[in-house]
């Protein structure tokens, strides 16, 4: 069953602007992960945030997690054309098989 739902489905911004993508999920989780997929390529892990964490940073990336609202956001600051890709959130459900369940992704286009 699908767990994460990203919002928006597509986002187009200018280089230098910030991009915010949201993810909502339905069940209790162990952790939530964000991945990037460039066109025609495999997924690349960006950041993992555990259920007891509220915010995490990695370079130009900032991820928040609100377990009470079952939602997460990924902020990319000072975007670059190279950030153009699809971004997926994936949740690891608690108490189950610990599998990762992916959302449908947000397609981000950063225009130069």
């Amino acid at each position: 069953s699908q767990q994460g739902e990203e919002d928006p489905q597509a986002l187009s911004i200018q280089e230098g602007e910030n991009a915010t993508m949201n993810c909502s999920y339905k069940t209790s989780i162990n952790n939530l992960q964000w991945y990037r997929q460039n066109s025609g390529r495999g997924l690349v892990h960006l950041i993992l945030i555990r259920s007891n964490e509220r915010e995490k940073h990695s370079g130009r990336l900032r991820v928040t997690l609100d377990t009470s609202k079952k939602s997460s956001s990924l902020l990319i600051t000072a975007s670059r054309a190279a950030d153009t890709a699809s971004y997926f959130c994936a949740t690891e459900e608690q108490g189950g098989s610990e599998k990762l369940v992916f959302g449908k992704g947000t397609k981000l286009t950063v225009n130069p």
Binding site: Y35, G42, H45, S97, E98, G105
Partner: protein, 112 residues
């Protein structure tokens, strides 16, 4: 020095044929996965192995059979291929079951 590799990268075959996709990881990870990504980019887990033991087996037709000869390899054999099997298949690995997953480049399967 590729971390997770898959062969072949592309596979075009006729309906009814049997084919295999191979995956190898040189990261020393204990857990390996197979995912299917459909034409709408929806990524869904198929199987997961931990130390050569099957731990996740989603609702996948019996025509799909994973085989893990050792911890570093997880191959996927598909019997009697159908048109609906056309997709991109990704292999991934993680240190253990609740950690970041590292994805291979994908195998693009087209069934004619």
């Amino acid at each position: 020095d590729t971390a997770v590799s898959q062969t072949p990268k592309y596979l075009v075959t006729q309906m009814g044929n049997d084919k295999s996709i191979k995956c190898e990881q040189n990261l020393g990870h204990d857990t390996m996965y197979w995912y299917k990504q459909d034409s709408k980019k929806f990524l869904k887990i198929m199987f997961s192995y931990n130390n050569k033991e099957l731990i996740i087996n989603e609702t996948v037709p019996n025509r799909f059979s994973p085989k893990s000869p050792d911890k570093a390899h997880l191959n996927l054999h598909i019997n009697s291929l159908e048109l609906g099997d056309s997709a991109v298949y990704f292999c991934a690995s993680s240190l253990n079951r609740q950690e970041t997953q590292y994805f291979g480049p994908g195998t693009r399967l087209l069934v004619l």
